[in-house]
């Protein structure tokens, strides 16, 4: 099934409390080698036909305007996947 994958991460210099909580839990479990954890989102946009370049452009626009909030997040990737 054709899909476009949008990957979003919290901005680099932003506090990620979720990531921090997960890192702490990993440390408690013995994984002290992990220095930090950051948690983002992977969004799949499914199509029931072939994906065009126009679709990809549209997805990039939606990723920037709606799927992410550019104050607190970065769109890391928008890619086609079969």
């Amino acid at each position: 099934m054709p899909k476009i994958i949008v990957e979003i991460m919290p901005k680099q210099d932003l506090l990620d409390p979720q990531g921090k909580a997960v890192a702490n839990a990993l440390h408690r479990a013995g994984n002290k080698e992990i220095s930090a954890v950051r948690i983002g989102k992977r969004i799949e946009l499914h199509f029931d036909r072939e994906i065009t370049e126009a679709d990809l452009d549209e997805a990039k626009a939606q990723a920037a305007n709606f799927l992410s909030n550019d104050v607190i997040e970065d769109v890391v990737a928008v890619t086609k996947e079969d």
Binding site: L15, P17, A21, F66, L67, N69, V71, I72
Partner: protein, 231 residues
């Protein structure tokens, strides 16, 4: 004076906002998120809750609603808009107010009576307060930490756009203890605490005077009625 209160799927404090408007002397008008028609109201409240289950980001989907789009347009023309908690999140997602609101550092939902300082008493929603007046307003949320770029913070401080600041405790790690903001024009105000929960004696926060007697929230709604009358 007609004040609209928008209900999104998942909105929780709309009935409380309607009551607050009524107690202040206005006429609350329930508005549905899918309707662009705002029924010629004189002001709008975006109430608290978990619109769309906080899916994607708090307030993100509500910011796309037809009613919200109309509010954004009219706010640009001076319509007074108050965003409470989730409503504040909608205002930030709509870019009517700058910055972002993220999850509390301590990860837990917290419901407490919060002391605030009213730092800007010239907005549509705060003109009945004294400058730097200390008020007590209930706070209840898990994602309310305010963040912004350093330049944005500098601008907000410099232009006196911090409407409310947390006193005594910063419950959610908000930068600069920011509890609420206003826009340049002073018609759009957003804050995390809930003034609509401090409007009726017997049902508000405890004060040294008596149990549940705090009604500092009422002046938010009375202020805008004043504003509309004078407009």
């Amino acid at each position: 004076m007609k004040i609209g209160v928008i209900t999104f799927p998942g909105t929780l404090d709309d009935r409380d906002a309607q009551r607050a408007i009524r107690l202040a002397g206005g006429t609350p008008v329930p508005l549905w998120h899918a309707d662009q028609d705002l029924k010629k109201v004189d002001a709008v409240v975006l109430p608290g809750g978990f619109s769309y289950g906080d899916y994607l980001r708090c307030g993100a989907i509500a910011a796309q609603a037809p009613a919200t789009k109309e509010v954004i347009k009219l706010a640009g023309q001076g319509l007074p808009v108050l965003g409470i908690c989730n409503g504040f999140q909608v205002l930030v997602e709509s870019h009517l107010l700058p910055g972002g609101l993220i999850r509390n550092e301590h990860q837990h939902f917290v419901c407490r009576d919060q002391k605030l300082r009213v730092e800007n008493n010239t907005t549509a929603w705060t003109n009945l307060f004294e400058k730097d007046e200390e008020i007590l307003i209930p706070l209840k949320n898990g994602e309310g930490g305010y963040i912004a770029e350093p330049e944005t913070l500098k601008m907000l401080e410099g232009e006196n756009r911090i409407a409310f600041r947390y006193l005594e405790t910063n419950p959610n790690g908000s930068m600069n203890d920011i509890a609420g903001l206003t826009n340049e024009r002073g018609n759009v105000v957003g804050l995390m605490p809930h003034p609509e929960h401090a409007v009726e004696p017997g049902f508000g926060p405890d004060t040294p005077v008596a149990m549940r007697s705090g009604v500092d929230g009422l002046r938010f709604f009375a202020s805008v009625l004043q504003q509309v009358v004078n407009a």
